[in-house]
């Protein structure tokens, strides 16, 4: 597969990749190419390979979770004062990755960015899977996960309610709303494409299954009218939602008085970081997948170049956040804040801080170069660096702030155990397993929206 050379692409007068769709695509070719993937009898060999790797790590997750349920959270490296270890780091990281999906599907839709078409279905699926991974961690971290429903408001026999003034309870509502809205949005857009797959299916079982999933969609103008209105409405709702969800996540930190957390810059800085890592994850998935399935003509270089641009912008916002954190630590004149910053950079976890600076601030600057943005291998590596970097960022925020707070007698180091790493790797495996299943079973690019690009090429090239 990888021997196939990257097809040449047209460039705009300024030298940037110009086209959203390769020339010569028709309604037929677009539908055939996308719908044939879920209908194929066998997926490409690389699919089995990727799926099996994801699946084995998913088994590791199940093992880790079973051990956790048997032994309790003591199998992790957490203790007082670092009671929020990997569970919260991973939670914030995964939620952040999910946010790019909503950003691409909702915000770019409202902004009439046609280049989202090639990647929106993909990234919406990514959102769902990432939020599923994220949602696991607070539950696993509860200590008694079998009574997790105590965080939901219901008239219980004890006469108690959740503490609605707490950001942790806000989180429950924010994340569950986010998952529900993402799912509805995703399915609403998917329905017409499921109908296309149904119409192309020759196998009777495929026809039945996709037929049931398509809910009888027949492309009626009246249906399209309402579906499109509802889709736009959901996009309008998802836009403030995605901003609110990561703001609420950042309140978990910002509302606490721990030095390094108690900061008003957290909401915007977290949201930018979320989109940053999410775009990186989309690139990490899309670059191999378009090669594997030969989708270079639908997911063109222009889309990848634009995504790299978004990463560059959000990356600069995140870098500004780091700068302001350091500045405020000095400017506040607060001894604890000042010490936090020194500890962060030169304390026992200093290596993580400098790794973060390298991975998240220094390396992504190469995206200023067009040659890097249009070089698939380099773009992939930069995206990988950002993904790791954003994980390290959350590690730095959570661990270095907690391990040395106010009283030196309470200081304690956090050392992750095997089970910390196993559960992190396990969720990554679960994420990729679900992503591979999605690519196998559902149309991974929006067929109807790509047809719109075919119908109105001038709109596409704007």
């Amino acid at each position: 597969m990888s021997e196939r050379p990257e097809p040449p692409y047209e460039v705009s007068p300024l030298g940037y990749p110009a086209r959203l769709l390769a020339p010569g695509e028709t309604y037929e070719s677009v539908s055939d190419k996308i719908a044939s993937i879920p209908l194929a009898r066998h997926p490409p060999r690389a699919w089995y390979f990727g799926f099996l790797i994801g699946f084995s790590f998913f088994m590791l997750l199940l093992l880790g979770v079973t051990w956790l349920f048997m032994k309790g959270v003591g199998i992790w490296g957490i203790n007082i004062p670092v009671a929020w270890g990997f569970a919260i780091v991973n939670f914030v990281w995964w939620i952040g990755i999910g946010h790019a999906g909503t950003f691409i599907s909702a915000i770019l839709l409202l902004l009439h960015q046609q280049w989202r078409t090639a990647i929106n279905r993909f990234s919406e699926a990514m959102t769902l899977f990432a939020v599923a991974c994220a949602g696991l961690f607070p539950l696993l971290h509860l200590g008694r996960p079998w009574v997790f429903w105590w965080i939901l408001p219901y008239p219980d026999t004890m006469g108690l309610w959740p503490q609605f003034r707490s950001p942790l309870v806000w989180d429950v509502f924010a994340v569950s709303t986010y998952f529900t809205v993402s799912l509805l949005f995703w399915f609403l857009g998917l329905m017409p494409d499921l109908a296309t797959v149904r119409d192309r299916a020759t196998n009777v079982w495929q026809k039945k299954i996709y037929g049931v999933l398509a809910l009888g969609w027949r492309g009626s103008a009246a249906h399209w009218h309402r579906q499109q209105t509802a889709y736009l409405m959901l996009a309008g709702l998802a836009t403030p939602l995605v901003l609110s969800v990561h703001s609420v996540v950042s309140f978990d930190f910002a509302v606490a008085i721990v030095p390094g957390w108690h900061s008003t810059i957290f909401p915007p800085y977290f949201v930018a970081g979320a989109i940053y890592s999410g775009f990186a994850m989309v690139l990490n998935i899309v670059i191999p997948v378009r090669k594997l399935y030969g989708l270079e003509r639908l997911i063109t270089m222009r889309t990848l170049n634009n995504m790299a641009n978004v990463m560059l912008v959000t990356g600069e916002i995140v870098a500004y956040g780091y700068l302001i954190e350091a500045f405020m630590a000095w400017y506040s004149g607060d001894v604890f804040e000042e010490y936090m910053m020194k500890n962060r950079a030169f304390g026992p976890y200093g290596f993580a801080f400098w790794a973060l600076m390298l991975l998240n601030v220094v390396i992504p600057q190469v995206l200023w170069l067009r040659r890097v943005r249009t070089n698939l291998a380099l773009l992939f590596l930069v995206a990988l660096s950002i993904n790791v970097g954003m994980w390290v960022e959350r590690f730095v925020i959570v661990i270095t702030s907690l391990n040395r707070d106010f009283t030196p007698s309470a200081w304690h180091l956090f050392i992750p155990t095997f089970w910390d790493w196993a559960i992190l790797a396990g969720t990554i495996g679960m994420f990729f397993m679900l992503q591979f299943l999605f690519m196998r079973l559902l149309p991974m690019i929006s067929i109807s929206e790509t047809r719109e690009l075919v119908a109105e090429p001038e709109k596409a090239e704007r």
Binding site: G159, T180, T229
Partner: protein, 198 residues
């Protein structure tokens, strides 16, 4: 076609969406009311060409948002002020600023649920069977035709056209015209998941 099968409507097929749009406009101008068009993607201007008014979806979404938001705030107010008053750091029982995030989330949730299920209900979906599925070429995929399968159809279900089946079914620029029969049996056919050649 056997005469035993009652006529449900008339339909015409076009090769481009511009032709469909023009035909819809002229049919609407001629007074056809009960019409629908079938397209593989949303065509701009088609709903108004068919004489459709503004969609009710935004209103439904607004109602959903209001229900979600107000019940969200009520839930928190009831829990913290009425059911189990708890003094947290001397703050007032009805400390509304800290109730805003959940109120907002539930506003969005209510509006989104109403948007999705409201639009589905107005579309009468899921609906596994519809007579338009009887239109020819709907099983294109199994026949492997070489011609383009992207079709644009305009169908009229108005009583006049159904009552006068003998009337010639004609439409300018149409690639073909055809009649849509009702299902042979009242029961949904066993091949209920028909294709619509989208």
């Amino acid at each position: 076609m056997k005469t035993a099968r009652a006529l449900y409507g008339l339909a015409a097929e076009f090769t481009t969406h511009e032709q469909l749009l023009a035909a819809a406009r002229s049919a609407c101008a001629q007074g056809y009311k009960s019409m629908d068009a079938y397209a593989p993607f949303p065509v701009e201007g088609l709903p108004s060409a068919l004489g459709r008014k503004r969609s009710l979806v935004p209103l439904v979404v607004l109602i959903g948002g209001i229900i979600g938001g107000s019940s969200g705030y009520f839930m928190q107010w009831y829990a913290n002020v009425v059911s189990y008053p708890l003094n947290i750091g001397g703050r007032p029982l009805n400390s509304w600023p800290s109730f805003i995030p959940i109120t907002f989330e539930l506003t969005v949730l209510g509006a989104a649920l109403f948007a999705f299920f409201g639009s589905m209900a107005m579309n009468k979906l899921p609906q596994p069977y519809h007579p338009i599925f009887h239109a020819p070429n709907f099983e294109r995929a199994s026949r492997r035709t070489t011609r383009s399968s992207t079709r644009w159809r305009l169908a009229s279900f108005s009583k006049a056209s159904v009552r006068a089946p003998s009337r010639r079914c004609r439409c300018e620029n149409a690639a073909r015209t055809f009649r849509i029969a009702r299902a042979r049996r009242r029961r949904v056919p066993s091949r209920y998941v028909q294709s619509a050649a989208l």
